[in-house]
Amino acid sequence: MDPFKNNELLTIGTFLPLVGVVIMMFISAAEEQLHKMIAIVTAGATLVVGIITLLQYDYDASGQLQFVVNEEWISVINSNYNIGLDGISLPLYFLSMVVTFLVALYTYDNMPDAGSPKMFLMLMLILQVGMAGSFIAQDLILFFVFFEIVLLPMYFMIGVWGGEDRQYASLKFFLYTMFGSALMLVAFLAIYYNTGAESFAFQHLYEAGAGIGRNTQIWIFTGMFIGFAVKVPMFPFHTWLPDAHTQAPTQGSVILAAILLKLGTYGFVRIALPMLPQGAEAWAPVIAVLAVIGIIYGALGCLAQTDMKRLIAFSSVAHMGFVMLGISTLTVTGINAALFGMVAHGLITGMLFFIAGSVKHRYHTLEISRLSGMLIQVPKLGWLLGFSAMASLGLPGLAGFWGEFPALLASWNPNDAILGDQLELYRVLTVIAALGTVLAAAYLLWLYQRTAFGNPSPEFMPEAPAARSLSAAANDEHHDHHAADDIHDVTPLEWIAWTPFLVAIVVFGVYPQLMFEIMDPAVVELVNVIEAGVG
């Protein structure tokens, strides 16, 4: 199949989960295992389509859209069903499929307490449609529809299957995002009307958008900025995130961290920057400042946390700050770093949320002060936490580094054609952002020291402490099984669900070119569009 010809691969890949949803609708909610199986199979089939997409993709032409479909959709407003995939969206599109599949798999053994896997998994599959759709859409209205499809399932996932404070958290999440979406839609409509109301197609708007007057561009950019910034989330629009993450069930947190947040940053890269280059030029320094505030502020927020999951949630604010810093440089390196950072953050923070979920499942608490000695009690889980913490703090050789370090490289050298007069500001920001890497080490290692090192706290020791620590001394899984009733090490299903994350973190960390090679040509095209637009 020639990827440049019209074909249905993307459409199938995106909407396949709906088939599962339809089947599940007709099956009684009592058939819990069956529902789980259907969801896993559907997500698996979707992933297979994703793998086929990867194989069909022409990597030598990564700068261009592939698998393009452009069919008439809502002709009244000139909106088409216009989809395609290039180096910017491919990693995220595929990541969403992998994550949904693995999360569905994880759910098999770890259904949140509220029960009803039927509804839960149906929502998850619908969520996947929205996520994948957002990454392939090449039309503003289509993008907006997918973008909003994501909202409801997540709202219900938090609101129904969440923690004690779920009502507040889910409502806050929903309202906040809605507020952003509203302004975003306004901006979309404005850009449409300001380019002569001809088309919502990205490609068209890349060319026509630059023609809009500078002030108008700045106004429209403002709308998009708020819409996307809420989703990212950027300081000061981030306060929904810690609540949503903390209250969401593990599955929700993982998907939220791995994919949902990326819709915001993806929106900046795909829509806001190239369509409104002069708006971007004016906003870039502001974004950079807010991004760096987010890095430091998020890290400080982490240091103040007493709850493991909330700490991880706050760390997202800091990490997404690096992503936004990269984007704000308007350079190839910066945007490459941002895209890499999105995937890396998805994998690493997703993994951290998985671990937090498993800790909660075993200890029924995430209070850092009550946890201790995980390396003795659940050595493998403790190792995984250490691994993920190291990845999260940006250790070279693991994926997280490639989001942070190139972003710093880029912010020291922002695009001088566009941001030449802001050089000093960016350089100061670089140094402050580098301080963020130190703080990241501080909060993550501090978390690790308190939860994993030392001896297990007596409250979680079913047996006599001495016998317990001796059996753990053998560092053997079998010992842990009979020793503790609740507190056991990583289960086989967890291994299956997590291994792809772990492998990806190492593989992309050791050989980042695997992803840079795909993204780079597309980003070069993108930056050309921006530079041409600023003229």
């Binding site: 990597y59 407003i77 509804m119 219900f156 609101g159 129904v160 889910s170 409502l171 806050k172 929903f174 309202l175 809605m178 979406s181 509203a182 302004l183 839609l185 306004v186 404005a190 009307y193 108008t216 709308g223 000061p236 306060t239 502020y297 400080l300 927020g301 103040a304 350079t331 190839v332 390196t333 490459n336 190291m390 250790l395 070279p396 050789g397 580094f401 490639w402 710093l408 490289l409 912010s411 020291w412 050298n413 670089t430 301080l435 890497t437 130190v438 703080l439 080490a441 501080a442 290692l445 020291q449 090192f453 030392g454 001896n455 001394a473 840079f516 090679e517 780079d520 980003v523 070069v524």
Partner: protein, 818 residues
Amino acid sequence: MSQPSMLLAAEESGHAIGEASGWFLENAWLIPVIPAVAFFLILFFGKKLPRGGSEFGLAAMLGSLVIAAGATWQWISSTTSHYDEAGNYEVEPVIREIVWWQSGPYEFGLGQHIDGLAIMALLLVAFISTLVQLYSTEYVNGDRRYTHYFAALTLFSSGMLAMVLAPDMVQLILGWEIMGLCSFMLIGHWWEEQANSKAALKAFFTVRVGDMGLLVGTAMLLAIFGTLQISEINALAAAGEFDSQNMLMWTAVALFIACIGKSGQFPLHTWLPDAMAGPTPVSSLLHSSTMVVAGVFLVARIYPVFHVGLDINAAGQSVNLIAAIGGITLLVAAALAFVQNDIKKVLAYSTVSQLGYMMMGLGVGAWTGAVFHIFTHAFFKCCLFLAAGSISHTAAHHSFDMKKDMGGIWKKMPVTFGAWMVSTAALMGIPFTAGFFSKDEIIDSAKHFEYTWFYYAGIIGAFMTAAYMTRATYLTFFGKPRGAAAHYMGVEHDTHGEVHEHSAHPDEAEHADGHIPDHTVDAHDDHGHDDDHAHDGHATHGRPLPFAPFDSPWKITAPLIILAALAVGAGYLNAPALKIYWFEHQTESSIGLPIDHGDDHGGEETEEPHGDEEALVVSEVAAGANGPFASAAEGGDHSYEPSGPYAVPAPPVFTWANAAPGLILVALGILVSWFASLAVFARRKNPFSPFVGLTTRSRPIGALHSFLVNKLYLDHLYEKVIVRAVAHPIAKAAYWFNQNVIDGIVNTVGTVTRRLGGWVYRNIDQRVVDGAVNASGTAASESGHALQPVQSGKVNQYGALLFGAAGIGAILLIILNG
């Protein structure tokens, strides 16, 4: 995806330059890869193996050593066959890279950059790592995390090896940070003790603070030179091809901050003594050839950046940042070494002090001396640590406290004692040991290149080194046996005059689990160990008392003997006193700058090096180091005119007259310290007796003493002031701001909007919103009803609110911009 292609790059250059070649040189990248692979093998399969994975570690290090040795041999044959009559030993580095990551105009490589400096470091690291692995098989035998220990140790070596052959700054950072990770794992190896995990955290975190400089400095390098390839950076810096020397200076400063953190330079040296919490072989590896040397290595690796950026060797310069930090470090650390009771901490401060020498050497332009000091120091410092471990392992029952648990053991441990004495002599810089040749060149250079202050720092440091090592030697090996050592020696101790039961643990392997968790005496003197530990039944492993002379097992003594031999022998690779300049010739092309032999043609090599004394004994170094963009960089108010390419001065010619002051001070240091030790510790009457107890009698001296004991209060500043402030008030304030201000606004807006929502719904929604929007609204409403128990009706309202607001906004924008 395209198969990454290996490309062999040999750069063209103006003058005739030899090309090094050979299988080992071209495949030197395998040297770090082998232990990296072994790391994963140990991690995944180690526990199932009879020797717990240590076989992988040892085999991998041997494999690396073989390749490193092969590469060394091929490098030497290349240099020897390529040196011409002008004394030109330059051989092009063997650079091979694959594209590690690309980004727009940039491509960053992963691979190898093999030249004299890299070869030296590769051989050194592979060699020391092999010995340490061998030693460890005995020393940590029976440890509960034996496998993890070897995994981390192997990865550690891999990190250092990857760093030293890095062709690119990014790979250098990779190796640098992997070492940071492994030091965290190894220092915190016995993490059940909070003190150990704290030390691990401190090491990682302190180094990380310095790493800010590395990240920012690397970004600055990219901005200045447009590349991160080390050979290109060096060439461009040496040729003066940059826009602003001021910026280059700041780059050098930023990168040097990283070196301060990593190499334990003042004022970030405080993590290093705490790092002694790790097992002793780890300390010996960390503090001899890896980790702490990384900072010095970085300066040596991209020396042109520092040399040009900081105007090193510019005429009239008497101080610069690197020399100043190095000089302060060497004195401060040496002073701190006097007040330690823990033998490992003496050695740790000694390492800091010697690293100060290396930095100072680089700061005054003595590149060769500094690099050679890296080389020689590795052997004798590794030997000293391993000797300390041997004592603790065999004689002192895992104690490292010289005052409590050692003394008089020279008779029983002849091999350990001999190795210790030889290495101590080398550390002090006694003539004809390795340390003498390398350290003397640094001190001599400081004098000749007119860094007079640093010359004094150097010789005073030599005095102090001699003195504290004499003190440590006395406490450890001489005098009356105390504590565990007394038990080991079969001598009754004054205060614990009883012979303990000692048959409970018949073999070596048994006692090793004494490490964990309640016997973590390795920790340090402030935490974890006291006399009690030293006096349970383990001390002699069941041998009858008193027993015959007995040293540690061969796996411990063999590395000691080899290292002790090298603590002397390694010096003869570059012994200016004997007119041997072999090491210098092998490595000088790595400096990246031309060597100025003192004639008028700065940078050109028309003289035969060291051939002619007259030409070389130049007290004024030719002003070859002035840049085209001369600016007073560090503390210099000198003015000078640009004079062509940058160059480093050739090392001064050795004369015994120049070395004499230092040597006299060393002798004096030994004597003073010996008699002072006798007076203080053995209460012998001698001229120093009046000084005994001075710290309690004299207030100022007592204050100085406690100032030193408290490590200059730097830890207080870092931990009690800075870290606590950030971790508590500042973080709490930020969080309060988050919860009450930002979230307060959000919640208020939410409430207001909710009230507005009703109004909007009633008045705007029904009239404005068009068909498509209505359809979506209905869909939202449907799903809302489906889950009514959750949020009955609200979704409907919000959907309406959204589209209502969007509609208004759209209309406004169209009107405004239409």
